[in-house]
């Protein structure tokens, strides 16, 4: 009798151990979790709404940046330019004020107080300008380049879908605006006239 109780206890222990050691999950759930990986949209949201605004607040006025680049290109690129990729293109955060002088298929052309003409690229918001210009995205934290590509895509999408639709219809020739954004410049082929700025914010003041 005692022997059979002993056996029953042993079987119970084995069953408890076996039950605790094995668990089942739906294959579709496991695959979905594996595919989920890095959440670029969440990263982009945090970056665009929390990290970028203080960096923009510190960004140089576009006229000041252009003047500095004309005076000492290397120093300006070193002080204000950032890029994740090796190369001669660097991205700059800028802010400024100006009068809308034209609107075309590429975006909004703005004349600044110092007489510079810049393009707020409201039509083709794609690329790495907004991701790179702040210098806040650290390449060493990413082993997968597609994650970095997806950050650019997600940040640009915020501008295309959340920022521009509200303001674009209100932009008219002659209007005066405050703007901020990121510009890409290639030090080897410097093109300051019509410098394209990917917008972060546009505010009509008149």
């Amino acid at each position: 009798m005692r022997k059979s109780i002993k056996y029953i206890l042993w079987v119970a222990v084995i069953l408890v151990v076996a039950y605790s050691s094995v668990y089942f999950k739906k294959l579709s759930d496991v695959k979905a979790a594996a595919a989920k990986g890095f959440d670029a949209a969440a990263y982009a949201n945090n970056y665009f709404y929390k990290q970028l605004p203080p960096a923009i607040a510190e960004a140089p006025d576009v006229d000041k940046l252009i003047a500095m680049i004309k005076t000492d290109t290397s120093a300006a690129f070193k002080s204000y330019g950032h890029a994740l990729a090796i190369g001669t293109t660097r991205y700059f955060l800028v802010q400024g004020k100006g009068t809308i002088v034209n609107i075309d298929d590429n975006g909004v052309w703005v004349s600044t107080p110092a007489g510079n003409t810049v393009l707020l690229g409201t039509e083709y918001v794609y690329g790495n300008a907004l991701r790179d210009a702040s210098g806040l995205v650290d390449i060493n934290k990413f082993s997968n380049t597609m994650d970095l590509n997806n950050i650019s895509g997600a940040v640009d999408k915020i501008v295309r879908t959340k920022i521009l639709p509200g303001i674009k219809p209100q932009l008219k020739k002659g209007g005066i605006i405050l703007f901020s954004g990121a510009a890409g410049l290639n030090q080897a082929h410097l093109q300051l006239d019509g410098m394209e700025i990917t917008p972060v914010s546009i505010k009509i003041i008149r």
């Binding site: 990729a85 190369g87 001669t88 590429n106 083709y124 794609y126 082993s143 590509n149 895509g153 080897a188």
Partner: protein
């Protein structure tokens, strides 16, 4: 003892050796990449040798074996296959030999010391923007892909589509691989033109296929109606952009990739260990507007 001292003294004078293992020397782009890497390593004081894998993973594996057996201290590596090459890199890592991938990546983020790669995706985002502008947001187009197993093929395609797919007026009527090969590019487009004679543009994953596509269009009498877009910055395409035959290419910088890999290997052998796993090298859009600033494989000095 004297002999031993002589031997040891002789040994310390030997320069360390760096191997350059390249996917193929049957393509001028990779010849340039391998020779630049070897020259930069030599300039930094290393004995170098170039091993040609002839686009064959088995031969590539033999090259690794030879390099490891011959006492090379580091390997500058242009892989033949993103998946198939991993095992060779793992073997080198196990032997304590660092591997620096050039231009093509392997599907592992733990085996190579660093991977220095053209930023193909971002280059094709810029290409996509230019494509949409040039096409005025509408038209039928064909995409000719590179080798389907190569990550670069999909980085380029995905970058391009991340822009172009947002414009519903642009319709891709065919997408087919031509293995980065000029003759196959010609054949593939000839065949596609039979089914889709009314295309407005062709986007090719490299310049060799763009040249083949242009040849097919010229033979069909459509070279003036159909715009061709490539990727690489090859010499003949730079000339064709100047002549208005090809609309644009994306310039890669093999010199920058090769020199960075050799510099990293040198730094590693001198004690540095913290390298970013993936290092993108910028790719620049070349069009009729700026083509005079460029030469094959880079910028004019």
């Amino acid at each position: 003892m004297l002999l031993a001292a002589c031997h040891s003294g002789h040994k310390t004078k030997q320069p360390k050796k760096i191997a350059v293992i390249v996917s193929t020397l049957n393509n001028p782009w990779f010849v340039f990449l391998a020779q630049t890497a070897a020259a930069e390593a030599k300039k930094r004081g290393y004995e170098t040798k170039i091993f040609d894998s002839q686009n064959n993973t088995a031969l590539e594996s033999d090259n690794f074996e030879n390099a490891l057996a011959s006492g090379y201290s580091a390997i500058l590596f242009n892989p033949t296959d993103a998946n198939g090459s991993v095992v060779s890199v793992t073997r080198a890592k196990a032997a304590g030999v660092p591997v620096f991938c050039m231009d093509r990546e392997i599907n592992s983020t733990t085996e190579a010391t660093a991977q220095i790669l053209s930023d193909s995706y971002s280059g094709c985002v810029e290409m996509g923007k230019y494509f949409v502008k040039t096409m005025h947001k509408k038209g039928n187009y064909v995409e000719i892909l590179g080798i389907v197993a190569d990550n670069n093929t999909w980085s380029r395609s995905k970058g391009f589509h991340s822009v172009v797919d947002d414009y519903p007026g642009l319709k891709m009527v065919a997408q087919q691989s031509a293995d980065f090969d000029r003759n196959k590019g010609l054949e593939v487009l000839e065949s596609i033109l039979q089914a889709h004679p009314d295309i407005d543009a062709v986007f090719c994953g490299n310049d060799a296929m763009a040249m083949g596509a242009y040849q097919a269009l010229a033979a069909a009498g459509k070279a003036n109606q159909v715009k061709v877009f490539g990727f690489d910055g090859a010499e003949d395409v730079i000339g064709y952009i100047k002549d208005g035959k090809i609309s644009a290419t994306a310039m890669q910088f093999p010199k920058v990739i090769a020199k960075t890999a050799a510099k990293y290997a040198d730094e590693y052998l001198k004690g540095k260990r913290d390298f970013p796993q993936k290092v993108p090298v910028a790719v620049e859009l070349v069009t009729a507007k700026n083509v005079d600033d460029y030469v094959a494989y880079g910028k004019k000095n």
